[in-house]
C-alpha cells in the first residue's frame, strides 16, 4: 500500500502542471483569465470535499 501512495505522490507531481494549466484554460474561457493560484484554490476545495466524503464512507 505504501508503494501505491508513493506512486500517486510522484504521478501527481508529474501531472500537476498540466492539470493546473487545464483549469487555468477553463477559467480563461469563462472569465478571460486565471492564475495558477485560482486553479489551486479550486482543487483545494475539491480535496476538502473529497476528505469529507471518503471519511463518511469509511465510517
Amino acid at each position: 500500500m505504501i508503494p501505491a501512495l508513493s506512486i500517486a505522490l510522484y504521478i501527481a507531481q508529474f501531472t500537476a502542471p498540466t492539470i493546473i494549466a487545464a483549469i487555468q484554460a477553463g477559467f480563461s474561457a469563462v472569465s478571460g483569465g486565471g492564475t495558477s493560484y485560482e486553479a489551486a484554490i479550486l482543487l483545494s476545495v475539491v480535496m476538502l470535499l473529497w476528505v469529507g466524503v471518503f471519511d463518511r464512507k469509511k465510517n
Binding site: 500500500m1 505504501i2 508503494p3 501505491a4 501512495l5 508513493s6 506512486i7 500517486a8 505522490l9 510522484y10 504521478i11 501527481a12 507531481q13 508529474f14 501531472t15 500537476a16 502542471p17 498540466t18 492539470i19 493546473i20 494549466a21 492564475t35 495558477s36 493560484y37 485560482e38 486553479a39 489551486a40 484554490i41 482543487l43 483545494s44 476545495v45 475539491v46 480535496m47 476538502l48 473529497w50 476528505v51 469529507g52 471518503f54 471519511d55 464512507k57 469509511k58
Partner: protein
Amino acid sequence: MFIQDHRRWRLMLAILSLSLLTVMAGAAVAPALDVIQQHFSGEPVILIQLIISMPALFIAITNLFFGKLCALFKGRTLTLTGLAFYVVFGCAAGLCSNIYLLLICRALVGVGVGIIMPMSTGLITYYFTRDKQDTLMGYSSAMNMMGGVVATLIAGFLAMVSWRLSFLVYLLGLISIVLVLLWMPNERIFQQKTSSKKKHENIFAGYYPWIVGMFLLMVNFFNYPSNFALEVSKSGVVSSSLVPVIMAGMDIFGFIGGLLFPKCKTAMGNRSKYIAPVLFILGYIALQSAGGLLLTLIGSFMVGAANGIGVPYFISTASAKAGANAATP
C-alpha cells in the same frame, strides 16, 4: 546523541544521507525556473514546468521495477548506480541548450531517485531492529525536508549567477556517494516479490480514498514549486532574489507541520483531515491576493504546512488500515 551512541552509526549516516536527496529532487531547481524560462523564451511554458515535474514520472516508473532491480544487483551497487544517475544527469541538464535534451536528463535524474528513494527507507528496515526503526524513520523524514531547504537555497543562489549553475545543486549527491562507498556493505538485501495485476487492482480498490487524497494533496502542493517563481515574476510583488529564501521558508514550515502532525491529530482527532485542504485554500487565497511580501510569506508558509501535515495524515491513516502489511506493494 542517538546516532553516535549506535554501534552502526556510520552505516546510519550513509543511509540517512540518501534521504537528503529524494522527495524534493525534482523541485530543487524550482527557484531558477523564471531564469530558465527567460533562456527558453520561445518554448511553451508547460515544457519549462516539465523541468520540475519530469523526474516524478520516472521515479514512479522506476518504483514499479524496483523489486526486479533488487533481484539483479546488490544493495550498494544499486544505490551507487542511482546516485551516479542523480549526480551525472542532474548536473548535465545545466549543459543543455535544447529543451528536449534537458528534459531527457531530468527523466534520467528521476530514474536515479527512483532507485535511491526506496533504498533510503528500505535499508533502515533491513539493517536496524524494530526499536530503532521508528526513530530512524523520523530522522529520514526530517532529512527529506531539510534536503528541500538546503537544495532550494543553493539552487536559488546559484541561479542568480546563471541558470546553468543552479543544476550543480545535484553535486550534493557526491556526499552520499562517498559515505555509501566507505560505510555500506555490498549485500543482496531484498527478496523479489511477485505481484499480479489483480493484486494491484485490489490495492486501489481497498485504498482509493487515500490514494486519490494523496494525489489531490500533491497536485495542490506541487502547483507551488511549479508556478511560484513564474507568478512572482509576472506580478512583481516580491523581488525575484527573495524567491529561493521564501521557497526554503515554505520547506521549513513543511518540516514544522510534519513535526506538529501528531499533536494536531491528538487534539483534533478525526477533524485533523480538514487541516491540509483548509490551509491550502487559505494559503492560495493569500498568494492570489498579491498583497505584497507579508501575504506572500503567509501564503507560502501555509502551503508548506499543509503539505507537512497532509502527507503524514494520508500515510498514517492508510497504514492504520493496512496494519503490518503497509510497506509491501
